[in-house]
Every structure is written in C-alpha cells, then in structure tokens.
Amino acid sequence: MTSLEQMLARANVLVCVGSGGVGKTTTSAVLGMHAAMNGRRTLVMTIDPAKRLANSLGIRALDHDVLPIDLRSVGGPRETLSATMLDMKRAFDEIVERQAPDPATRDAILGNRFYRFFSTSLAGAQELSASERLHDVVRSGEFDLVILDTPPTSNALDFLDAPMRFHDALDSSVVDFMANLGERVGRRGLLSGGSQLVFRTLTRFTGTELFTELGEFLHHFSSLFEGFRERTRATAALFAEPETRFVIISSPKPDTLGEARYFRERLQQLGLHLGGVVVNRVHQPFHENRFAEAAPNTLADALDTLEGADLLGRPQLLRLARKLLANAHEFDRLALSEATAIAELATEFGDGVPVLPVPLFPSDVHSIEGLDHMRKAMAQGRVSSGS
C-alpha cells in the first residue's frame, strides 16, 4: 500500500492542519482528488479569504454552495469530487438563524454592529464555524470522505484550542456582569460603590455608548450559548471518532517539522487520531550523483561528449560546469538536511503514521493538471516495511 492510500484508507473525515504557507489548501485538494479518482464521493471544504481552493482548482469562483469538480480533463470521474468554500460570516449567520430562540432575538443579533466582529474576528469564531459546517456535512451522509482545510493560523495547534477559547471569551460571567451594569446604569445612581468605580473607570476608555450597546448585544447573544455548547460537544465527538483523522501538512524546515511533533503530542493527549504527515516542497538530493564532488574539469569532459557541445569552447564548458556544480551543491545542502529531518520524524512516528515527502516542483500548483501531477508524485511514496 502506498503512503497516500494508507492516509486515506481508514478515514471518512480528514482534518488538514498546519501553519501558514505550507501548502495546506493545495494538499487538501490533492488528497480529495485522489480519493475521488478512486470513486469515493469526496468533499473538500476550505476557508474563504484568499479564494485559495478556487485558485488551486483553477476555477474562478467557488462559493458557499457545494460545487462539483469535473475531473475528466485528467482522466477522472465527472461527479465524485466536490468542493465548497466556507464563508465565515454566512456560516455564522446560519448558526444564529438555527439557534436563536425567536425571530426578534435573531434579528437583534444579526442587525447589531458588533455582530460582524463577533462572528469573524473573535478568537475561535472561525474555527467554530468551520467545525459546525463540517459536522453538518458529515452527518448529511452525502459523502464518503470529507476533507477540511483548516483556517489559516500561525500555529497548527490553534485549531484544537479555538472552540475552547471562544467559549472562554463568552463565559457567562461577562454577560451577567454586562447585563447587570447595563440594567443598573439605566436607573442612574443605583450602582454600588464598587460597580460605580468599575463603570466610571472603564468608560473613561471606552465611552458610555460602547458599554451599553455591547451589553445589549451580549444579552441577546447569550441566548445562543447553550446551543453553542451542545454543538461543540457534538463536533468534539466527531473529531474523536477513529474514522476522523488529522493530517499534518508541513514544510521540510526543521522548525515547522518540530511543530508537527508538538501537534502529535497534543492529539495523543486529546485522544485524537493522527492520519499522517505530508511534507511539501522537499528538495531533491545530489549526493549520490557521481559528478557532485567532481572537479569542474571532469564535468566539462562529460558535457564535451554530448552532441552539440563542440559548438561551445572549453572555457564556456568549464564555466557551465562550475555553475552546474554550484547549483547542485546549493540544492543538495538543503536536500540532505531535509531528508535527515524527515527520516527522524518518520522513525519517531512509527509505521502506523505515514510520512509522505512531496518534491518541490519547477512551478507552483494551481490548476487541475498541476494538482494531478502532484497527486501522482504523492502516490509514488510507498510505506516502508520495517521501521
């Protein structure tokens, strides 16, 4: 079995995590493509801002709806792959619409000028929306495999902690505090000495208007909390299922690989399942190349045996040879340290966790053909027997 097959085989949900700039979106698309090529009904879910998946799939617009991706141009099926982009604002709107106790509260929340901030920018809001949508899609039963490309974070671990932080931020003590203050401020003079001090001091920074309006918003918003908690529990249960696997997407840089280690520990602590590691943009080695350590003269001699080389003079051939060697050395230097770091990680993670290096390509991947090329390169990696 190839590493890629192993990564996909046991999963019906793959959560792709990793820090920014490691090719998370592209890799999610390739994983989805491979499963879809093998006939599994697959959905790739990505996060809106940069329209990244749309870029990767070479289609102009991808919206909140589920769109089929036709793979016939690369010899695949027409209908097994679908993609959707998570529009944070809209996903959160849907949560509010579903969970608001009555239309008046719903409108009060959606119409409040604080709402946009709460639904998109408050720590954890994006992850909450993403998990919620994932949960819905998985439970719909329309797909054999759902791949979630997680929101861009500077740290892969953020995704696991985010819902917790959101709840923490919205702890009911804050809401009670605001509601109390707001109510008593309405009836001037009824504030106790302590509360009055707090109120006066805070409003020196925020102004009174912000205070009362935010209080009002929180009062309405708090009617959703019980629903949030319930859904978070449901999503947590989905994440813990053995068929839900986390795939770490990494670059071959030592510090990014270090993060993968840390992430694996966190998954183990939380009882979640690691499906594998994809290491993107790995440089190819030259140390086994007989010319790598050769003198420029030797390489120039070898070039000289080629047809057409006679058109170039010896000085030209030598200059080319020197540059070729310098180029190979530069790549080899990176390749060696990357290969060592990846091998160490693979040994440490053991046989159950495929670690799949993907070469750096001569050009970036942002078309269906490019994704298929990357897919084929990934499909070549075999799971090593033994450690």
């Binding site: 000028r113 505090f177 009174t208 080629l306 057409g308 080319l320």
Partner: protein, 325 residues
C-alpha cells in the same frame, strides 16, 4: 544617516506585515541587525508570539520585558493584557485603581471582546516606545514591528474597524484616529508588505495593498519579495543547457548508463532552477505592474536553518536596499 539610495531603513517606525510563512520575522530580525550594525538603537517589537528570536542570539525567548539581544539591538514580545496594563497605567496613573478594575477576570474578558482594542493598545505601546525618551534623548532610534499574521495578515485593518463598526465616541475613537494618522505619516512610518513570489502570497499582497489604500488611506512604503532565487544561468546558458539535455535524452533512451543519468540530473537541476527563477520573475513583474510600488528583492538562502550568520547576509542585503536584478 539618511540617503536617497536606501529608504528602506531610514524610518523611525517600520511595520513589516504579510501572510504567515513569508519570512516576516526573519526579515524583521535582519533589519534590526542592519540598523544596530549602523550604530542605531533599535527595538524589535513582536506581538504575542512563541518567540524564536531570543534563541538566535543565544538568549532565552523574548517576553514582555525589553531585553538587549546584541549591542543596540533590543526586543520585546508584547501581549494584549501587557499592553493594556501599560496603556491604562499611563492614562490613569493610579496603580491601585488599575488593580481594582482591570485585573478583575471578568473585566479582562470584557475588554477582549471590544473589537480592535487589543490591536489598538499593542500598536499604541509600539508608538509609545518610538517617542520614548531617556536621559533627554530618544530611547530608540527606530522601532520595527513584526506584525501578527492573524486575521489573514490584515492586522492594521482592525484599527479603523474600531471606529466604523463598534465605537461611536469616547477616548478609544480618539486613540484610533491618532493611530490611523501615525500610520499615514510617511516621514515617520514605513509599512512593508512582505511576500513570497508565489501565486497565493502575491494575490494576497496585492489585495492587502488595495485595502490599505481604500480603507485606511495608507500608501505602503514598499513590497519586499523574500526568498527570491538568484539566477546563476544567463539566457544563453539556459539555451545551451537545454540543447545538451535534449541530445542526452535521445541518447539515454537507447542505453541506460548511470553516468549519463547523473549528467542528465545535473542538467535537469539547472533547468529546474531556471524554471523556478522564471516563475518568480513573472510574479515580480506582476507585483511591480499591479502595485505601482517599489519591489525590493531579498535572495533565497540555501542554508537549512537561518542562524545568526545567515541573517547577517540578509542584513547586508537590506542595508544596500535589496537586490535589484
């Protein structure tokens, strides 16, 4: 100090911004090194990160206290609560009152919910250090901000949201206006958009620049394209290499000599390098055309990890205003 040749390091307040993974921290450190080397006292300002900068200088990770990592090179890693505390203490001047009000857990949580406030107080702290004096002269000659990559790198855009979305009046609005003014002050402030020469970072950089112009009326000082491959092969050489590769291909189809395979992979590596260079050139051209801003190039380094020595190279590159090839 100031020369027209290199405006990159002339400002007192430098904000390095861009999406995650483009090398903001690396370039910020290298900039600080270049300035410190030139005799300026410089403060590297980070936002609530898992610090990697201290260890580069053989020191512990940088925390919320200002530390001197190398001669004239200072660093701090602030958090919203730290910045809030300093800001409030400066305004209130009563420590007891601060403790009573702001150290209350509920109040602290409430403050986190005010849109833009954490960004505002952290930026405020950075500007405070820019104007700070010690012994009758400025404490620092320059402050370099390694802006957070959160919110899709749109950190600065959070500031006006305070005004437009959330707060109608009060001191925060005044502060937000003051910050927006400082960001627009091109004598003091320079905003660098840092990017890689790849599809998505380039798209996002252009989008960010457009939004800075439209929403904040800010003209970034320039774009820094990081990690650009040096191009060792001339166009003529690339043609020669391609011809040689093609004749070799015809030959190796008939016999599988490992020597020829090795020779072929040397040639392929060169052409691979050239393909990546050409791709990067395309993105550099696009950045220049669509941004209308100067694009500074910093070369890719082939060291596996960027240690102090590698950063010195980048610092030198920055001192001379980047590569212009």
């Amino acid at each position: 100090m100031s020369t027209s040749r290199n405006r990159l390091l002339d400002h007192r307040f430098i904000i390095n911004t861009g999406k995650g993974g483009v090398g903001k921290t690396t370039l910020s450190v290298a900039m600080a090194m270049a300035m410190a080397r030139a005799g300026r006292r410089v403060l590297l300002f980070q936002f609530n990160v898992h610090d990697r900068v201290g260890p580069i200088f053989g020191k512990p990770p940088v925390g919320p206290e200002i530390v001197e990592l190398a001669p004239r090179l200072f660093a701090v890693n602030t958090t919203p609560p730290d910045a809030m505390r300093e800001y409030v203490l400066m305004t209130l001047r009563v420590r007891l009152l601060y403790r009573a009000v702001f150290e209350n857990r509920t109040v602290a949580r409430f403050l986190r919910m005010i849109p833009g406030l954490p960004e505002l107080v952290m930026l405020g702290k950075a500007y405070y250090h820019e104007g700070e004096s010690a012994d009758g002269r400025p404490r620092f000659d320059a402050v370099i901000l390694d802006a957070p990559a959160t919110g899709h790198g749109m950190f600065l855009l959070q500031i006006p949201r305070v005004i437009s979305d959330a707060v109608a009046d009060g001191p925060m609005v005044g502060e937000a206006h003051r910050m927006a003014e400082l960001l627009r002050d091109r004598q003091r402030t320079r905003i660098n958009l840092i990017t890689l020469t790849e599809e998505m970072p380039v798209n996002e950089t252009l989008e960010y620049q457009r939004r800075l112009r439209e929403e904040l009326d800010i003209e970034p000082g320039g774009i820094i394209a990081n990690s650009v491959y040096p191009t060792p092969f001339s166009a003529t050489e690339v043609r020669q290499l391609r011809d040689l590769r093609d004749t070799l291909r015809i030959r190796t189809n008939n016999n599988h000599d490992s020597g020829e395979r090795d020779l072929s992979s040397m040639l392929e590596a060169a052409l691979f390098r050239d393909a990546r260079c050409a791709m990067q050139k395309g993105y550099l051209d696009r950045l220049e055309q669509e941004s209308g801003a100067p694009v500074i190039r910093i070369h890719h380094r082939f060291e596996p990890t960027l240690d102090a020595a590698a950063l010195e190279f980048i610092a030198t590159e920055l001192s001379s205003g980047g590569s212009t090839s």
